[in-house]
């Protein structure tokens, strides 16, 4: 097998599973260590730079990092319920316990460069673009139909999950950078916008249309049937303050979970979530499903809605067909009726949360922006540039509904594109990330990180008392970790960014690392092809998603092979290595954001002459 090229930043980046999985590539272990040290401000700033909304994401993120977390794999066969580090809720800890100094540390804006950028929509993608560019001296104007910034963060996420104060605070950090916010001013013509003297336009208007369900009775019972996202927005703005007694929520995504829990708080006695697919395949995050069920809301699966049932003109029930999942040879699922009689479930009100769609009624189809057959703009997947060179898209508006952290990642990339575009540099050329790899050795057996591995299990986030929480839509359910629990949880992090770096010319093949490794990650063996090597290691390397770190030939012509899969990053290999062939080196990768670093032409360094 070819020796691993550790000079390629991708190799070590991939080892940091959480950071690799995060669309914005937030350096997770870095901020978790800061939390463990009680340096909440620093931890917040690491997040703020990378994902812009630490307090918001710390409560609402889809957490792609957590299923990827190595801790979950490491605990397999070691604990009854293997679980990842509570990364998302640790992020909230940084936001909860940061001090006022953070405000002062938020970057100052550079001198105005005279370039004007318009952002359509004030959701996470637009606000990210605004922050990245405003800090670099751009004059950014953000338009939104609502009075306050935040977009779907503000309109769709119920207050019991995300208090308004947190949204205000983090949106204001951005708007206070000198961003002009035109609230209540919905852009309704792209042609008109393009006629104005903007140097670039960013479209971050989201996927604002909730999918409807066209089945018998829909029109007749319209008064008691609502589209989930619209209903959530009405609840959020206080236009809706109550529901009827029996509510059915259709759909299995996170919006459905927000709907059912909101309905429960608005006075419904009986709330049911009814979903076409099986429970396991539901789109909602596992923890959101658990939270809903925890509040006494049943989730009924394999029920396909057939009709709304009316009696005397009012909605009284819904009829469902019962199906089962059948998989074909290729593993594709289809839902096949079981033949059982249809089921009628009584209800007074129905919330439809079966998906969202993009909708661009305000972009004239002849204004130069091409759309594909699905009604999505034709974009370059990396640059987010549309067929009109100065128009860029991001967030849900770009490739359909995803989540906040993806929108933030799009925002960063689009800001880089806009910055390069307005400096006459090709947008297709992307800046490499900023990478730093530095030894953590402090003494003979002393490291600058805490290398002892905690055996604690994942801590649960405390909840407000159910009675109190269910009484009001505004009472935040999750209370967040206290500092002691946060420390305990932070210690579960394996510091995967502290890499095991192997220098083959130093190795004397004494086997000390092989003997000490608690996870049997290291093997010295004869070289072979990867598939063959994976079966010949001290412990079989069955997780093909995780790389093998392979050295060149050593003195005995064998090679060192390390399976990255369940490495604890405990540093024992390096501690037991007599020659320093193993070293623990911290790998810090930061994606390059808009600004001089993302451009090819570097500004001439000015020499400062000081009087002697």
């Amino acid at each position: 097998m070819r020796p691993t090229d550790v000079d390629d930043p991708e190799y070590f980046h991939k080892v940091v599973d959480c950071q690799w999985a995060c669309p914005a590539h937030t350096p997770v272990p870095e901020y978790i260590r800061l939390i463990a040290q009680g340096r909440y401000d620093d931890a917040y700033m690491v997040n703020w730079v990378s994902n812009v909304f630490p307090g918001i994401l710390g409560r609402t993120c889809d957490r792609p990092c957590e299923p990827a977390c190595r801790r979950g794999r490491v605990e397999e066969a070691n604990t009854a319920k293997p679980e990842p580090v509570a990364i998302c809720r640790l992020k909230r800890v940084a936001a909860d316990f940061k001090g006022d100094e953070v405000r002062a540390r938020i970057q100052r804006t550079a001198a105005k460069n005279g370039k004007r950028v318009a952002c359509v929509g004030a959701g996470p993608a637009s606000l990210t673009v605004a922050r990245d560019l405003a800090a670099q001296g751009y004059s950014v104007t953000v338009f939104d139909g609502e009075q306050k910034a935040g977009g779907f963060i503000r309109t769709q996420i119920p207050r019991f999950r995300l208090p308004e104060s947190v949204i205000d605070e983090e949106c204001n950090y951005i708007l206070n950078l000198g961003v002009e916010f035109r609230g209540g001013q919905r852009v309704d013509s792209m042609a008109a916008l393009l006629a104005e003297p903007w140097d670039a336009v960013f479209v971050g208007c989201g996927a604002p249309r909730g999918r409807d369900l066209d089945i018998p009775g829909r029109r007749e019972a319209a008064a008691d049937i609502h589209i989930g996202i619209d209903w959530l927005a009405s609840v959020s703005f206080g236009h809706v303050t109550g529901v009827k007694k029996r509510v059915i929520v259709l759909g299995g995504g996170n919006t459905a979970m927000d709907c059912c829990r909101s309905a429960r708080r608005l006075g419904a006695d009986e709330v049911k979530v009814i979903v076409r697919s099986g429970y396991e395949e539901m789109k909602a995050s596992p923890w959101e499903k658990e939270d809903a069920m925890h509040e006494g809301i049943p989730i009924i699966n394999y029920h396909v809605p057939k009709a709304f049932v009316l009696e005397g003109g009012t909605l009284v029930a819904m009829r469902f067909e019962i199906v089962k999942a059948v998989y074909d040879a290729k593993g594709r699922r289809s839902l096949v009726p079981t033949g059982e009689p249809e089921v009628t479930i009584p209800c007074d009100e129905v919330l439809i949360a079966v998906g969202q769609e993009n909708s661009f009624p305000w972009i004239e189809r002849d204004c130069g922006i091409d759309f594909d057959d699905y009604g999505l703009p034709r974009l370059d997947a990396k640059t987010f540039q549309s067929s009109t060179a100065k128009v860029f898209f991001g967030g849900d508006a770009a490739f359909g509904p995803k989540n906040i952290i993806t929108a933030v990642a799009h925002g960063h990339e689009a800001a880089v594109s806009i910055d390069r575009f307005l400096h006459d540099e090709p947008v297709t050329k992307r800046p490499p990330p900023h990478v730093n790899l530095v030894s953590q050795k402090m003494g003979i057996h002393e490291w600058s990180y805490h290398n002892a591995v905690s055996s604690d299990l994942r801590s649960k986030v405390p909840w407000a008392a159910a009675q109190k929480a269910l009484q009001s839509i505004k009472v935040e359910v999750e209370l967040g970790f206290d500092p002691v629990t946060a420390l305990k949880e932070a210690e579960r992090c394996l510091n995967c960014d502290v890499q095991t770096v192997f220098t083959e010319k130093q190795c004397i093949e004494c086997d000390a690392c092989v003997d000490i490794c608690p996870m049997d990650c290291i093997t010295f063996t004869t070289d072979g092809e990867e598939a063959d090597l994976r079966t010949r290691l001290k412990a079989p390397a069955t997780n093909a998603d995780q790389a093998l770190y392979v050295s060149g030939p050593l003195k005995t012509l064998r090679v060192m092979v390390k399976d990255e899969d369940v490495c604890l990053h405990c540093g024992l290999c390096a501690e037991r290595c007599p020659t320093g062939a193993w070293d623990m080196q911290k790998f810090l990768l930061q994606t390059t954001m808009a600004g001089p670093a993302c451009r090819d032409a570097k500004p001439a360094t000015t020499r400062v002459v000081t009087a002697a």
């Binding site: 794999r73 490491v74 605990e75 397999e76 066969a77 070691n78 003979i444 057996h445 290398n451 002892a452 591995v453 055996s455 004397i508 093949e509 004494c510 086997d511 000390a512 092989v514 003997d515 000490i516 608690p518 996870m519 049997d520 990650c521 412990a539 079989p540 069955t542 003195k555 005995t556 369940v566 604890l568 405990c570 024992l572 501690e575 037991r576 290595c577 007599p578 020659t579």
Partner: protein, 351 residues
């Protein structure tokens, strides 16, 4: 040396043996030896061998003397019995323990100082009595704990770390063991576990005094150019006479065909040990042949490793003393005291 405890977490695929333990269950405390010490590899080999042979840790007694090597029993088999004796006195304490309870598996762990200097006499007598034990000498040719003086097994002409040339002849523990009647004599290298683990397994299964000389480089004081116990020197001069395969015949067919005649030797527990000869003219059951072969190689500066000699019909001290099959410590007063009538009869016979 390491300060943090070895994490309890283990690889998800770690398997349990027939007596219900994982390999990790055979570990001891974290080693306090220097990083890269060959002794730690020997500890790991002992752990591996005991796990593979399904040995119950509480049926093992590990005894040692003084020195780096003699510290190691703390680092493996944490759930076994242990006795850290006076310098060089492991063999006599072990002999006593063995006489008291013949049912335990005895591991004697010693070093070149402990066995070839201060304990040379004890070593010799344990061998000639045929005490059933696995006697492992972790041989690095140097006094590591006192910063690198030559030990009694250092080769004449080899250089110390400071550049001093050794003028004394080495004590040849393999030669002595062969001469004094050890019935299982092997030499291994800490840097080659694929060879060492089966050698230890063979010794554990052996019915008499089993001696293994394990060359174990001292990375701190004896791993330099001019040393004959360095990783590089041993790898360059290592010549194995045999390889022990415990593999089943079915696996053998799939395994890579390799040179060497296979001989099958009976073990006391009824199983058979399969030995692949790597030197065509070498007969591992011929004691005098083995002595000559070892000496001839030594004269050329080569290090002969593998199973050098084995007596398939070995007996032990208990056989020589004709003791009862039950361990002596399990005999009760009723078993041991014949009673007044027998005493009177005995006394009468002497009148």
């Amino acid at each position: 040396m390491t300060y943090i405890a070895r994490p309890k977490l283990h690889h998800p695929t770690l398997v349990r043996n027939k007596v219900g333990y994982t390999r990790r269950d055979y570990e001891g405390k974290i080693s306090t030896l220097c990083a890269g010490c060959g002794h730690d590899s020997i500890s790991a080999a002992i752990v591996q061998a005991c796990w593979e042979l399904d040995i119950e840790p509480h049926r093992v007694a590990k005894l040692s003397g003084i020195g780096c090597s003699s510290k190691t029993p703390d680092y493996f088999l944490g759930a076994s019995h242990g006795f850290n004796t006076v310098h060089g006195r492991m063999p006599s304490v072990l002999t006593g323990a063995n006489l008291a309870n013949r049912d335990l598996l005895y591991l004697g762990v010693s070093g070149d100082g402990d066995s070839a200097s201060i304990g040379l006499g004890q070593f010799a007598h344990a061998m000639r009595r045929g005490v059933r034990m696995v006697y492992i000498v972790e041989n690095n040719g140097v006094y590591g704990l006192t910063k690198g003086q030559f030990s009694a097994t250092a080769d004449r002409g080899s250089k110390s770390k400071k550049g001093v040339v050794n003028a004394d002849s080495p004590v040849d523990l393999i030669g002595m063991a062969l001469q004094l009647g050890a019935t299982y004599v092997a030499r291994g290298f800490s840097g080659d576990k694929t060879q060492l683990v089966p050698l230890i397994e063979g010794a554990i299964g052996h019915g008499g005094a089993a001696f293994i000389d394990v060359i174990s480089p001292c990375v701190a004081f004896n791993n330099h150019a001019g040393s004959t116990r360095s990783y590089d020197y041993v790898r360059e001069h290592n010549d194995a006479v045999s390889r022990i395969d415990f593999i089943d015949l079915a696996d053998e067919i799939k395994a890579e065909p390799s040179a060497g005649e296979v001989i099958s030797l009976p073990q006391p527990d009824g199983t058979r040990m399969r030995l692949r000869k790597l030197h065509a003219d070498y007969d591992p059951t011929d004691r005098i042949g083995a002595m000559n072969h070892v000496q001839a190689y030594q004269a050329q500066g080569e290090i002969l490793t593998g199973l050098l000699y084995v007596d398939p019909e070995a007996t032990d001290l208990h056989h020589g003393l004709n003791t009862v099959a039950r361990p002596l410590n399990a005999l009760t007063e009723a078993d041991l005291c014949p009673g007044a009538a027998a005493l009177t009869k005995l006394n009468g016979s002497l009148r």
